[in-house]
Subunit: 358 residues, 2 copies
């Protein structure tokens, strides 16, 4: 049977500790050259949806022999590029029937090639970002780190905290987010979810001062963490290239990135009115850094790079780019749990296989 799962299923089936463990296994496979990851590609063309929109077909894939799976993640997007303030944002429009987005993961077996499951990418997309930075915390933060200062109050902030709390005994969290109502609602929700007091604060410095772990979890295209805020022993964590100013990154004693994979292959049709958002100021600042010069998370997991040598070192983990590979790793857990628990629509595998030689 091939399983069709929903985001609700994925949310119930995949715990953060399970996801972190699967990614850890997968990154070791990647570091040892057995797993492979294919760079994301984006095809951009005109669409009839709206004259100011474009159509985007995005795909990324990876194979994790250690977990017996491969996956391809596909996004079929209607995208607009509105100006927000001085900067242009990339906004996906839920244009599919019932105002929905289109993002799918197809999971296959590396043992016999069979299609194991098809599920949406939305919930997993969030969890895998958290799990990746969680591994950054595991390999780089002080063993006794117990306090977090987080900048941001969106879904990224939620999974970042959940992941950090999975790998360290966290007892205190402070959250800054520009809008008071957002940070307060987030603090209330996360306090309950984590069983740890999350305190909303009105200035970023109030979240950061004295924190063992600083997590940037914004959608900002400009730096939100600055060098003067660094304290000895801090672990800095970022989910987007521009969040931490380059001088702050360079000031760290130990720096690691998620991957050396390069930016997506972008194939843009001549008539597509597409403004590449990454050509904004904040991203240009990030381009001062040579991400390939830093060791990767798989390097740390394989023991080729030690994330921290002493308690007073400042460490910095940059989740610089996502990988289809992560969807394969986490997908293996989702599939295993779905089979154990009988979750999902079961369709005949023959519907997705063939007798004709392809």
């Amino acid at each position: 049977m091939t399983l069709i799962l929903s985001n609700d299923d994925v949310e119930k089936l995949l715990t953060m500790p399970d996801c972190i463990e699967a990614l850890e296994t997968a990154y070791l496979d990647l570091a040892e050259g057995r797993g492979v990851s294919r760079q994301r590609s984006d095809c951009i063309t005109p669409t009839t949806w709206h004259e100011d929109a474009v159509y985007g077909l995005k795909s990324m894939d990876g194979v994790v022999p250690a977990l017996g799976v491969s996956a391809i993640r596909i996004n079929s997007d209607i995208i607009t590029n509105p100006l927000v303030g001085n900067s242009r944002r990339r906004v996906k429009v839920p244009a599919a029937p019932n105002e929905r987005y289109v993002g799918l993961v197809l999971l296959f077996s590396t043992h016999n090639g069979e299609p194991l499951a098809i599920f949406p990418d939305g919930v997993l997309q969030h969890i895998r970002v958290g799990a990746t930075n969680g591994l950054g915390v595991k390999y780089m933060a002080r063993e006794n780190a117990c306090s977090i200062g987080i900048l941001g109050s969106g879904w990224q902030a939620e999974t970042q905290l959940t992941a950090a709390c999975s790998v360290r005994d966290i007892t205190s969290i402070r959250c800054f987010s520009p809008k008071q109502e957002n940070r307060e609602a987030f603090a209330t929700r996360m306090s309950e979810m984590l069983g740890i007091e999350v305190r909303p604060v009105a200035q970023p410095e109030d979240a950061i001062a004295g924190a063992d772990i600083v997590m940037c979890a914004s959608n900002s295209i400009d730096p939100i963490f600055f060098q003067q805020w660094i304290e000895p022993g801090m672990h800095l964590s970022s989910i987007k290239k521009p969040e931490i100013e380059p001088s702050a990154i360079r000031a760290a004693d130990k720096i690691a990135v998620h991957t050396h994979d390069t930016d997506p292959v972008l194939i843009v049709a001549k008539d597509a009115k597409f403004k590449e958002t990454s050509k904004q100021a904040g991203w240009n600042t990030a381009r001062q850094l040579d991400f390939k010069s830093y060791p990767t998370l798989p390097d740390m997991i394989a023991g080729r790079f030690i994330g921290r040598d002493s308690d007073d070192q400042v460490t910095c983990f940059l989740n610089n780019l996502g990988l289809g590979y992560q969807f394969a790793a986490a997908g293996s857990v989702i599939y295993k749990r779905a089979c154990e628990q009988g979750v999902g629509h079961q369709l005949p595998t023959d519907w997705f296989t063939e007798t004709v030689h392809p």
Copy 2:
């Protein structure tokens, strides 16, 4: 509703003339820079299937705004590399349950992004190769071409003949294939299918002498058509790089290739026992040619290159590489006909879309 179709459905729904027409529209879109095509990628890793096998995850995609669709083709293969004679072949093993192969096409709308259909790639894979060479015949063979000599008797030969007969009034066909029983069975079957006498012959020269159109439809990795066989006015057609010897190609007055897209991006895991078959002698011969120096099929369709100026010219079309783009173009016809005829399993589109922002 999102449609799940079978190879049988595809075979019934997609006629060769429809496929040729859709590809023609799509190639014009590509030539004019509106359509985009993403180079194939192959991820190769170890598999637990057999120690001498590898696992391969292959994907290719394309977007055809003129037809309102995009598609990604995915193959999840168990591959062996047996030695056949002196050369190594790439053999896919039907390892999925019920001894089946795994090749899928996902079709999306460029209007609103929605997933329109999912179907196996096997039958379409065959038809699109035929249709592509059919367009070569349409744009390069003499208007009054009426005879075909074909080398090969497999599935490629079948779709090659069907395609050529869709674009020229063919009255006579001769077929050579090394095994007598194969060429005779093929001739009998195709005579009935096409309503044109297909005559089996014992030597390649007997098929070729006097033919207006010569079609190579083999799985050979060495040349099977040679310069000395060329006659004035002939159109030469090939489905694989090594089939026509380079000197014969160079002897043609007009030469066109399918695409300037480069060879697949190959990502091979360290431990995968993978012998790249394209490093064989025949392929090395083909590498004497700079395929990018020749105009493409889209160039011809857009009128930038004239495939033939006079009846005595020798023309040559090389279908050098397949594209995911072809699956999108033909997929648009399959989907349209399936909707018209109520064919396929209808699943709720909500199963393949999401409310969570990806």
